[in-house]
């Protein structure tokens, strides 16, 4: 999954800077994950696109809940 399109579509409203693909760390049900996502390194703002939240992420959540 590549979210460079999403990165280009949004900017950080806090500092006005661009969002760059950055490694973002997640955890759920005692498991850790990392995904390259658009983020503003300066402000620490991360973008989890809707397609990811409702797609792959939801799928992994379900698998972990019922592994």
């Amino acid at each position: 999954m590549n979210f460079s399109q999403e990165a280009a579509a949004w900017s950080c409203a806090s500092c006005g800077g661009n969002l760059e693909l950055t490694k973002v760390f997640f955890s759920y049900m005692k498991r850790n994950f990392e995904v390259d996502l658009p983020a503003c390194a300066a402000c620490g703002v991360v973008l989890v696109p809707e397609s990811l939240a409702l797609g792959r992420m939801a799928e992994v959540e379900r698998i972990l809940e019922d592994k």
């Binding site: 973002v24 939240a53 809940e65």
Partner: protein, 776 residues
């Protein structure tokens, strides 16, 4: 679930019990499978089914007296399947030279004296088990009285062919032996065990006790004679005639006993179901067309293959599956309660929550109890699943997502925004206490306060009011701690009010109180109304019109009086009732019960959608969640309270449509405000800053975010946080903002844009995976 509990659960479900044809067969030939293979045109496979159980399928398939047919369930709808005739055509056409694999030889030597059908059966069974077998027979051939049967019934070459297996397995056959006492004594000395074919030994004197019929006396369960190591069988007449299938069993029984004797295990243990026994399997014949038996065009020759196929197709493949047919939840997991019990056990005890699918399974049962009502043995999935949920919690593998939303909703109801308990205005005593429930207050706030006014008007002694949740969500979630806490709060308030009689408006509360708080003597609003009279305003308005179908709530299935009373009220309102196929004792759940909608929202939606198709009539509910769920599915549905205490005069309650979770909360707050205002009190508490934000959103967005279980409150918090900290993203194209907040277990995302003095919500979504940080 302990092992013994698993066994108790499993034994209740009869789906795996043998069908009648199988249990009525002394040998337990799987006739259902045999017929299924023929239905598929798989004749070789059908033959294999016979060969698996019958010692000599070529013989028995032709001459069996088929007691299976007497018990065939098809017999009640058109006539029993001609299993005997189908076996005949199968073995005539498909029995070939069988390959028999002798097992490694055991050292123990067994003698069989006499080789009628019982004797050769015993000999073959033991040969296949690897014993060394010697057969003593007076004739120069095996088979005894089989040779007396008519040639057209049992051709001679078939007997020869079928019995040639003894040569293949290298049995030691002693033809032309004199069968007498001397042989018996000699064999008894030389062999480890002896089996006697009583049919072949008729009239021969042996030192063994005889029975009333002059046959060697045996224990009917094991074939043991009164001398150790000597067994016998055969020669019994059934209904006055030679029964090939019983004769076969009479050979098989002593063979099994000998095997056990050689293994030094108990002869009689676990043999109750050897031979014919009554089946426990229930098979519904509802909706099965009576089809008569296919008659062969040439009665002398029997069925043609085409006729046989048609005859086999009449087999209904007996099975129970009654609960599964009616329950989408059970249907979806493609099994039945016995298997589910095993899966839950495995998940708990062996896989510790890692049995794929079974966490969500355990938490998706709506606990409606329909299965128990339908099941011939009262199997109750709810009981099993609720107990399993408690275990999941104890063992610490319950995912919080399964119940969190419902438990949060319950906490809201039992907290400051809704919770309340007061005497009637101007009184200090209550003979009655109205408990309208959290969900009805959430769905129909105006009607709730109107019904309270009605009760105050009709009843004397003071009618207090308690706003609270009965704790059902905690009960369903297996959260005994929270459930007890909710009940304790209710009991304490009720005691403080002077123990008034509780009037419920929600059938779930009524049920919970009856089961867990019976001292409050709950009575439903509708039963009170029948006693006290339907409001005059409703009666004077005349008919509210039309025909409705009542969706009885699942919790009322055992309350026939209550259900009848609802119908009486509807009649007084001038409404015609057309009953749904599943009503009264057998209603389904709307998907709210058991928190099904929490653990598996898709399943809950499908359950409701299927139910909406049961009738084209408007539905009439008397449970708020039923109303709201049917409305969400697009069905025209109203709640009884909307007809009796309409908030809108001359409105069309069935057109009200769906209601969001946020609105449900807001409505509860309104109910509390209305009650307090009537009491001359002010609302307690204060308004948070984020609650003051003005939001607008389109109906589409509202429905979408509601189905994602995102509350307006969550959205307000996200926007408030984003606006106060400036932490948000901006769309280069539209200028809209995107912000997120992870208050606890869920991360909420909101896309919005400023709109006048408020905000327009464009979208919202959420996930449970927590953002921990980013790489620096």
């Amino acid at each position: 679930m302990e092992k013994n509990e698993l066994i108790a659960w499993e034994s209740r479900c009869i789906q795996e019990e043998s069908p009648e044809c199988n249990s009525a067969c002394p040998l337990h030939v799987d006739a259902r499978l045999f017929l299924k293979e023929i239905q598929k045109g798989e004749w070789d496979a059908a033959y294999k089914v016979l060969n698996k159980t019958m010692p000599f399928p070529g013989i028995l398939g032709r001459i069996c007296d088929h007691p299976c047919e007497d018990k065939c369930k098809r017999g009640e709808v058109g006539g029993p399947i001609a299993i005997g005739a189908l076996e005949k055509i199968c073995v005539e056409r498909y029995s070939g030279k069988k390959r028999v694999q002798p097992l490694p030889r055991k050292s123990q030597r067994i003698a069989v004296i006499g080789a009628g059908l019982a004797g050769v059966t015993a000999a073959l069974d033991l040969l296949k088990k690897g014993f060394t077998i010697s057969v003593f027979v007076s004739e120069d051939r095996l088979g005894g009285s089989l040779w007396d049967l008519p040639e057209e019934l049992l051709p001679r070459e078939v007997i020869t062919e079928e019995l040639s297996v003894f040569e293949t397995l290298k049995a030691d056959i002693h033809f032309g032996t004199r069968l007498d006492k001397a042989l018996f004594e000699q064999v008894r000395e030389e062999f480890d065990a002896v089996i006697l074919d009583r049919d072949a030994l008729k009239g021969i004197e042996l030192p063994l006790t005889l029975d009333d019929d002059g046959l060697i006396a045996i224990d009917p369960a094991t074939g043991a004679t009164d001398r150790e190591g000597i067994f016998a069988g055969g020669g019994t007449r059934f209904r006055g005639a030679f029964s090939p299938v019983m004769e076969t069993l009479e050979g098989r029984k002593p063979a099994l006993s000998v095997e056990r004797l050689m293994q030094k295990v108990g002869l009689g243990f676990g043999r109750e179901n050897e031979g014919a026994y009554p089946s426990r399997l229930f098979t519904s014949l509802e909706g099965i067309d009576p089809l008569p038996r296919i008659v062969p065009s040439d009665s002398g020759k029997g069925y043609t293959e085409e006729e046989a196929l048609r005859e086999a197709q009449r087999c209904i493949q007996c099975e129970c599956m009654e609960c599964v047919k009616k329950c989408l939840f059970m249907e979806r997991y493609k099994a039945y309660p016995k298997k589910y019990a095993r899966e839950i056990f495995n998940n708990e005890r062996i896989l510790l929550g890692a049995a794929h699918q079974y966490n969500v399974f355990t938490n998706s049962c709506s606990a409606c109890g329909l299965c128990e009502t339908i099941c011939p043995n009262d199997f109750n999935m709810a009981e099993m699943c609720l107990e399993a949920r408690r275990t999941m919690l104890k063992q610490n593998f319950m995912p919080p997502s399964f119940h969190e939303f419902a438990l949060d909703d319950m906490a809201f109801s039992n907290g400051e925004p809704f919770s309340l308990c007061r005497h009637e205005a101007g009184t200090t005593e209550s003979a009655w206490l109205y408990f309208p429930s959290c969900q009805l207050s959430g769905s129909a706030p105006g009607e709730v306060t109107a019904s309270y006014n009605y009760l105050r008007d009709k009843l004397s002694g003071g009618v207090g009011i308690m706003l609270h949740c009965c704790g059902a969500p905690a009960f369903w979630a297996g959260r005994d701690d929270l459930f007890k806490e909710a009940l304790a709060e209710i009991r304490a308030s009720w005691e403080k009010m002077g123990k008034p009689r509780v009037i419920t408006a929600c059938p779930t509360c009524q049920n919970i109180f009856q089961e867990h708080l019976p001292e409050v003597e709950p009575v439903s609003l509708w039963n009170v109304m029948l006693e006290s009279g339907i409001p005059a305003s409703v009666c004077s308005r005349g008919t509210t019109g039309g025909t409705v179908s009542i969706v009885d709530p699942c919790v009322t299935r055992h309350d026939q009086v209550g259900q009848k009373n609802i119908r009486r009220i509807l009649k007084s309102l001038g409404m015609e009732v057309e009953e749904l196929p599943l009503s009264g004792e057998t209603p389904e759940c709307c998907g709210y019960g058991g928190l099904m909608y929490n653990a598996d929202p898709t399943l809950a939606r499908d359950v409701v959608e299927r139910r909406t198709t049961a009738s084209d009539n408007d539905y009439l509910a008397y449970c708020a969640m039923c109303r709201d769920n049917f409305a969400f599915a697009g069905k025209r549905v109203s709640h009884l309270i909307e007809h009796v205490f309409p908030a809108v005069e001359d409105g069309d309650p069935a057109s009200r449509g769906w209601i969001s979770w946020s609105e449900r909360r807001a409505n509860r707050v309104r109910v509390k405000e209305m009650i307090l205002r009537a009491l001359g009190e002010k609302t307690e508490g204060h308004t948070e800053e984020y609650e003051k934000l003005k939001l607008t959103m389109s109906p589409d967005v509202r429905k979408r975010i509601d189905s994602r279980r995102i509350l307006e409150e969550d959205i307000r918090k996200v926007i408030f946080q984003a606006e106060s900290t400036g932490k948000r993203m901006r769309s280069r194209e539209s200028g809209a903002y995107l912000a997120y907040l992870q208050p606890e277990n869920v991360t909420f995302w909101v896309e919005y844009s400023p709109d006048g003095d408020g905000f327009s919500v464009l979208n919202a979504y959420c996930h449970r995976m927590k953002i921990v940080g980013i790489q620096q």
